[in-house]
Amino acid sequence: MIAEKLIAKMTRKKVFPRGIHPNDSKSATCEQPITPLAWPAEVTIPLQQHIGAPASPMVTPRQDVKKGEQIAAAGGFVSAPVHSGVGGKVGPLTTCLVPTGKRVPAVSIKTQSVPSEEQLQAELEEYLSPAGEVRPIGELSPETIIESAQNAGLVGMGGATFPTHVKLKIGPNKTIDTIVINGSECEPFLTADDRLMQQAPSLVVRGLELAMRATGASRGVIAIEDNKRKAIESMRQAVAGKSNLEVAVCMTKYPMGGERQLLPAVLGRVIPTGGLPLDVGVVVLNVATSISLAHAVDRGRPVTHRVLTVTGAVNRPGNFFVPIGTPISWVIEQAGGLRKDAAMVLMGGPMMGVTMPDLSIPVIKGTSGITVLSRSEVRKMDQTACIKCGRCVENCPLKLSPTRIAHAVKMGDLELAESFNLMACCECGCCSYVCPARMPLVQYLKSGKAAVLRKRAAAKAASTK
């Protein structure tokens, strides 16, 4: 740990203490340019792809929708509208599973007048290039920017899917001095953000400047892990000559992309437990979110597509430009289909990704990748009792004691678990990764957190009665 600090200081790279170094496995796709994905026969667009209230449908069955048309209105302030990325005929209103395991209302659309390959390529090129004529930042009011984000259905595209307009609307007694663009992409296997920074650097910068304008921040930082040399180079060129913007090179370490690790590393600011980056004067945006913000303001383009990595045990791994609502099965088919040894399909990467029980689950705004693990890669579950080696304690980036909390949860003593700071856990999974006894530590912590939240909700309901 001391050696790492020294190296970081000598190379001027940013690092946070503790954490782990899994094999990044990004070489299969980091050199693959983004390619457009052909439209599937049918898309299923969930009406709740974000944190907050579900959106309410604005279309009726058998109605025709155009590409980019709004199909659902936001269900409140902390919510986001939904748009269609394809043109076609609306099918019956249904429900579908989303990656979080919840079943939510959805609109299915049978695609019609499917575009040709050239048209798809042209659309992608437009997505990756800045709008021709843009209004200077100074002419745009913060309200305009936030409204554009809200109308475009913009949510955090790194996976958290928190509505961006809520994040950018700063309360009167808070000040934001810095926007951090999170390009660390610490999750192994995934390269979508890496490709976006290489192929659309000026859009990332434009989004950053818009977010700074919206929040009144004076400083913009783009944080990138040092395993993405080309992205660092292209982003450095894009910020050249802009004195208020900088590229921060971080050491490759998991979970660098977590806000609670990124901000101490890059800015030296520790987010208080239970707080938000907002509490230390920072707003963190993902690379894809930043690009989408630029599109929302400059082109009025809603969030209908996203770039994601399809990798692992598929025949043609790559980075794809995918309409939201496309089923995973179609995406995998376009990536050459599954290899014979495929055993597990994950939405996201192998550390925080969620296993998919069913490949009809659609891509949503927060899907950064689809990772297929082969039989040999799947974690072996030869569990023994905890041998109290303390590795989970040593590696927890939040300085918790996962094994003690997990044992308290296992015994059903939620109060004890809470006294061990259960609720501070960020669920990064470093504890499970290092555990020699192969205990599903983070799983105990997750279920403990869920149980505490249920208990609190029940207590609240009882007190209001």
Binding site: V345, T384, I387, N421
Partner: protein, 367 residues
Amino acid sequence: MNSNVSHDKGQEFSDARTQKIHENAKVLEKIAEASQPEWIVEPGPHLSDKSTTRRLMIDVIVALIPAMAVAVWVFGFNAIRLTGLCLVSCLATEYLFNLIRKRPGTLGDFSAVVTAIILAFSLPPTLPNFAVILGSVAAIAIGKMIFGGLGQNIFNPAMVGRAFLMTAFPVLMTTWVAPVDWKVDSSAPAAVAGENVDAVSQATPLTMLKPGSADRKLPVLRELIIGRTSGSLGETSVVALLLGAVYLLARRTITWHIPLGMLGSAVIFAGIAYMAAPGKFVNPMFHLGAGAMIFGAFYIATDLVSSPLSRKGQLIYGVGCGVLTMVIRQFGTYPEGVMFSILMMNGLAPLITRYTISKPLGGNVRA
């Protein structure tokens, strides 16, 4: 005719039946397909590093190979006898316990092997067979299994076994022999188990320090480093033990906190005493090399289960082991104090963990 009809009917019946069976099979297949998830669904993370409990235990066993080799050279057949007996009786005890408790077998985690070897290495080479077996049974049964097996025990199982023998057979446990002289009589070490009449008894370097010791011819440091002195089976050779310790540290099976705390505090303690009264107390480097100090610091005190969780706590725990050892060695009636100091600190380990566990980054969760 009759039979014909019935045959026809049978045919008809069986056709319909076959069809039905086929249909049912299809339905069943579909149900099976639907209910049996095609994909592995489990909680993340889906990657892990290579270390496993078994791997950690095997690392310790590998690290003890040089000490084993020296033990055979110094104490001859007794080294093989003790280690073999401990292994067999420890593994058998654990197997029987699991059988009685109707629990799945746990021999595969290799922790019983480590306990057996550490116990054997901490015994006097001439200890009779029955005592070795009793000590092994005590180590696994009282030291580990009655607490609930691996990970649940408070005290280091090997030290529990040794403490049991120390109380039950104090004379046998303090009878020491001189190293085997291979040149003079190669048959001497082959003194049959339990019948150690031929062995030449000799005080250990630490017993020589105690007042009233018959011979006070202290070995020079070089002898302690190589290990041709009397003492417990595996504790005598500093160089062999350090070789294994380097391996354990390089493999990150153990960290430096406990050994540094224990050895550092012992040297400082002995150094102060030596400077205060050089005539009464011996050079601190002698204390480092003699007895089970090195063996204890790298192999016994570092036992994962019975030491504190936090690194800071491990340092404190190590210091406690070192200081208590020196207190017993210099002021107690026992010549050696490593076993008692580690057992005492084992008892304090949960408390140390409790007071040294760090606050979360960003402060405690507010109620």
